[in-house]
Assembly symmetry: C2
Homo-oligomer: 336 residues x 2
C-alpha cells in the first residue's frame, strides 16, 4: 500500500504529502473592495478585462492567473505537466479556452462551486501517486457570465432574493509539486452527492449545507481526529444562510468545529457590500484559498486548514423539470 | 519513481497496470439496430426509458449501466470507492443525478466526447497510485437531450448537414481494479487542446481530427513504439469526414497506423442507418469500448488496443461569439 487509505474509508491520507509550491489569484473590482483585498495578486479595474464578452473575460482571468502563478514560481508554462480546472459555464468553456492558450495537457472538471477542492484532490493524488511533479489545480467564475446563464442577464434588473449569493468574479490557481517546503496537502475526502429535497435555486447555500457537514463528519471519523484538530475548517460557498444551517447540523452531529469554523461565501465580501447572503461561484473558494488562507498559512497565522468547497450540481433545465438540488463537498486538509 | 514517466513526457507508463475488471453498456433503440447489437448488454425499446424527460432518461441510462456492471461483477454499489463520470449536458447533470442515486463518492468531469478516455485516464491513475482498489469510470450521452441543447429540438425538423454526426444514446461504465486478470491499462496520454481555427459546429469531426493525431503521434513518440504496435488504434468520435482528415494527417506525420486504424463515430452505425457522418457523443466511444471492443479483447480477437476518445470543447455561446472549436484527445492503451 502506497497510502494509508483503509478499505471502505472515504478519506485518503497521502503518504508523500504533495506541496503547494505556489498560488495566485485575480479578482474583479467589487471583489477587490473586500476586506481581503491586500491578499489578492491582482484586482481588475473592470469586469471585461479588455475582452468583448463576459465569457471571454472569465477565460482570460483564469488564463492570466495561471500565467501569474507560473511566473511567481520562476517557471515556464511548459514546466507544468498537467492542468486540472473547471468553472460554472456550460461545457466549462472558460477552462477549455484557457487550456487552448496555455498548451498544457488538460483534464476538465465539473464540480460547480466545489471545483477548487475537486481539482486539488485530483492534483494531489496525481502528484502523490508519482505520475507528475508539477500540476496546476485551478477554478474560476465570473459574476456576469453566471448571472445571465443561471438567472437573468443583469441588464434586466431582476430583483435578487435575500438568500441569493453573489457569484464571485475570481480565479485561483495553485502549483502542486512533489517536494518542497509546505504547506502540504495531507488528507483528502471525496464527497458523496447529498440531496435533502431542497429545490429553491435562490437558496443554494441551504441545499449544500448537508453535503458539507456530511463530508466533514466523514473526514473526522475516518481519520479519528477531534473536531477541533484544525485551526480553521472553512466551507465554501454556503453563504450566511447555508452556514447557519451547517452550524445547526454540526451541533446535531456532535462535531462542533466552532469557533474554528467559517464559510468562504459568508466572509468573502464585507456586509456593507450588499451581496445578500454572501458570495458563491468556483472563484469564491478559489480566491479565498489562494488569497487570504494560504498567505495566512505562509506566515503561520493558520497551520492546519480544512478546505471544504461545496457545489450545487443542478442545472437550469433540471430545476425547470422539477428536480431538487444535489450537492457535493470535497475536503482538502492543508498543513504546515 | 513509482511510474516510468520521464520528465517532459506527456505519456505515462503505469507501473502496476490496473485491470478492467468489468464493463457494461446500455444503448438506445436506433443504436441497438447497429452491427454491434450483440455486444451490448441492453438495448432500450424507447428513448424515454420510463422517464418523463430526455434528460432524466439519460441520467437513468447511466445509473442503470453502472448498476449493471456492479451486478455483473457480483459486487454491491458500496464496494465501489469512487465514481468518475461526465456527459454533454450543461452542468453535467446526467452524471450528477446518477451520483445522487448511487451514493458513491463522486468526481465530475467535462471532456465532451473525450469523457470515456478522461474518466479511464483518471481512474487508472487513482488505482495505480494506490488510492483506491475499485473505481468506476463512465460516460453517457442521449441523442434527444443533446440535439435540443446544442442544435434544435428534433420536433422542429431542422434539416441536418452531411457532416453532422448523430449523438449516440448510450452509456458505458467500467470497473477499474488493482488486481485481476486483464485486460490491463498500460499507458496513458493526456491530450493538449488543439484548435486549428475550424468554427463550423456542423463539422466537429474535422475540428477534432488534428487533436486526435497530435495525441497519437505523442503517444508513439513518448513510448518509442512503432505505429503498428497496436492491433487497433481507434479514435472517437471523428465520424467519416474527421476520420478521412485524420488519415491524411497520419500520412503527413508519417505515423500511418493504417490498416489498424478506425474511428468509433465512423463505424458505430451501419451506413444504411442514415446518420450522415456517423455517431458522436460521450456515449459513442463509451459504448464501442464497453461493447464490441472489450468483448473482442476478452476472446483474443484484439490484444492491444489504443482508445483515443476525442472531444470538441466549445459551447453554443462560444460559437455564437465567433470562437473556433478547441478539441482534445486522450489516449488509453489497453492490453491483454
Amino acid at each position: 500500500m502506497k497510502t494509508d487509505k483503509k478499505r471502505g474509508m472515504q478519506t485518503i491520507a497521502l503518504s508523500n504529502p504533495p506541496v503547494l509550491a505556489g498560488w495566485a489569484t485575480i479578482v474583479g473590482p467589487k471583489e477587490g473592495e473586500s476586506p481581503w483585498q491586500n491578499y489578492y495578486d491582482k484586482i481588475l479595474s473592470d469586469y471585461m478585462f479588455e475582452e468583448d464578452t463576459f465569457e471571454k473575460a472569465e477565460s482570460k482571468i483564469l488564463r492570466e492567473t495561471i500565467k501569474l502563478v507560473v511566473n511567481k514560481n520562476n517557471l515556464q508554462l511548459d514546466d507544468i505537466e498537467v492542468f486540472l480546472s473547471g468553472d460554472l459555464l456550460n461545457q466549462t468553456v472558460s477552462s477549455n479556452y484557457a487550456a487552448r492558450e496555455l498548451e498544457i495537457p488538460y483534464l476538465g472538471l465539473y464540480g460547480a462551486c466545489s471545483t477548487m477542492a475537486e481539482s486539488l484532490v485530483l492534483a494531489s493524488m496525481l502528484v502523490d501517486g508519482g505520475f507528475y511533479n508539477k500540476v496546476i489545480a485551478a477554478a474560476c467564475s465570473h459574476h456576469y457570465s453566471a448571472e445571465r446563464q443561471f438567472r437573468f442577464p443583469v441588464e434586466q434588473g431582476v430583483q435578487s432574493n435575500p438568500t441569493n449569493q453573489w457569484t464571485a468574479t475570481a480565479a485561483g490557481a495553485l502549483i502542486v509539486e512533489n517536494t518542497g517546503i509546505g504547506p502540504y496537502i495531507t488528507n483528502l475526502t471525496v464527497g458523496k452527492v447529498v440531496d435533502m429535497g431542497q429545490a429553491d435555486i435562490a437558496d443554494m447555500g441551504s441545499a449544500m449545507a448537508p453535503a458539507a457537514v456530511a463530508t466533514i463528519k466523514q473526514h473526522f471519523a475516518d481519520l479519528n481526529i477531534p473536531s477541533d484538530y484544525y485551526d480553521l475548517v472553512i466551507t465554501g460557498d454556503l453563504g450566511s444562510f447555508g452556514m447557519a444551517i451547517a452550524e445547526q447540523l454540526f451541533i446535531k452531529e456532535g462535531i462542533v468545529p466552532q469557533p474554528n469554523y467559517t464559510d468562504c461565501g459568508a466572509i468573502f465580501f464585507d456586509k456593507k457590500q450588499k451581496v445578500n447572503a454572501g458570495a458563491s461561484g468556483c472563484g469564491c473558494a478559489a480566491a479565498m484559498l489562494c488569497g487570504p488562507l494560504l498567505n495566512m498559512m505562509k506566515i503561520g497565522k493558520i497551520n492546519k486548514l480544512l478546505l471544504v468547497a461545496t457545489g450545487a450540481l443542478m442545472s437550469p433545465i433540471t430545476s425547470f423539470q422539477g428536480e431538487s438540488i444535489p450537492a457535493i463537498a470535497h475536503a482538502v486538509a492543508i498543513e504546515n
